[in-house]
Symmetry: C2
Subunit: 220 residues, 2 copies
DNA sequence: CCCGGTTCGATTGTTGGACAATCGGCGGGC
DNA sequence: GCCCGCCGATTGTCCAACAATCGAACCGGG
């Protein structure tokens, strides 16, 4: 008998559908506004309708799809109110995390956060980096800050936002070069140790404002 | 035809079960740790198993029940790690709300918050007030702060915590008299205008510490 | 007496199929 | 031209079943 069971520890059918759909949404295979009809999902993933329903429910909790009673589910639309609301919650969670991190490390930024910024830097310095890699490294920075706050529950809450956040950060592509991205986050570390969590607030506000312009121009 | 349809606008079977169960949990009809067996719920509420399942799912999102894969659902236990995690997220949301409120009102506390504190005061000054009323008025104060932050999405996130918060606040009963409750929140308003959101942090820390002592003594 | 493996019942996860309720659009009637 | 009622499509709920999984009781050996 093999010591390690070859079975990949089946987590159930629902998570399967959830992650498949999530991947498709984040990769752009499904555009915001697209309808998600249960019958189609059933054929697509060869599962029962209840399974598809449950999956849609989970994705709604993640903010990636919007379901309206008796009216079906659609891929979440990226409009201005959503952007603002998302960044408000994000600010609340990240600022508290930063506060906790700085409080625990005597006002210094934790090592993993420095490492994450370095990785972002490295990715951005390669010639013509894939934007996807940039986005992932960028996520790593903010996630590192949240984790450094040492509150598993805040980290959980933030994790449920991450998909939705990515949806918007990819919209930064036309306006931010990898170089600006890297520069902004190097600056952030300095400012954090110098001015405290308020620096992170300014950083997030800048990001939101930029996404806002990106949405404005793409909506026109 | 009557102008107003007598039909109470059936919101569906799931919300029915959800609110019934929520009420029972918050009123103490169901104790933390009690098992919630799907079959029993089906008989109890005369609904399909999937409906009960969905309801449990929703209540899990609210933090009132814990479901473990293949192991069923139980009423959420009030242990120390949960208390800490809950108050961490709560602090993040309330502090950001307070910050936004103060920023918008030139450093002053918004009127609805004053009114909420007055209501709490009034309830606490009646002779032998029902603790339930005190808890509700107390909730009103913190909810008013969150609403004054003028971020619907933060308010939503906070709303999903409110049931869980109430579970712990009722535990304050043995340690806080209505008088202390009222005093603490009158002081909070002063401190908020004087020292900013940091005052709210101290307020929440005190509350958490008190609940902690209550849990300690009740666990012994 | 204690310990390990085994069996068994209870409960959950998933599936399939069925039906009523609801929504949006289409066409007919005024 | 506008309003109203019908119709297809889709969702919400229910019923019934089966496999997978877990916990606990059970049992035999040390």
């Amino acid at each position: 008998m093999p010591a390690s069971p070859p079975a990949p520890a089946d987590p159930g059918a629902v998570p399967e559908v959830v992650s498949a759909l999530r991947a498709r949404i984040l990769d752009g295979g499904l555009a915001p506004g697209d309808r998600l009809v249960e019958r189609v999902l059933v054929e697509e993933f060869d599962c029962a309708r209840h399974t598809a329903r449950m999956a849609l429910q989970m994705l709604q909790d993640e903010g990636l799809v919007a379901v309206q009673r008796n009216r079906g589910a659609t891929v979440a639309a990226l409009d201005m109110p959503r952007l603002q609301g998302l960044f408000e919650v994000r600010a609340a969670l990240e600022l508290e995390s930063a506060h906790r991190m700085l409080e625990r490390h005597d006002g210094r930024v934790a090592v993993p956060v420095h490492e994450a910024v370095s990785r972002l830097d490295a990715v951005c310095q390669t010639s013509r980096p894939a934007w996807r890699r940039v986005v992932e490294a960028h996520e790593g920075v903010h996630e590192a800050i949240v984790v450094a706050g040492e509150s598993p529950r805040i980290a959980d809450a933030y994790g449920r936002l991450s998909g939705e956040i990515r949806l918007f950060v990819v919209a930064l592509r036309p306006l931010w070069t990898p170089a600006t991205m890297a520069q902004h986050h190097r600056d952030l570390l300095d400012a954090l140790e110098r001015h405290g969590p308020a620096a992170l607030r300014r950083h997030l506000d800048e990001g939101e404002e930029t996404v806002r312009r990106a949405l404005d121009s793409s909506a026109s």
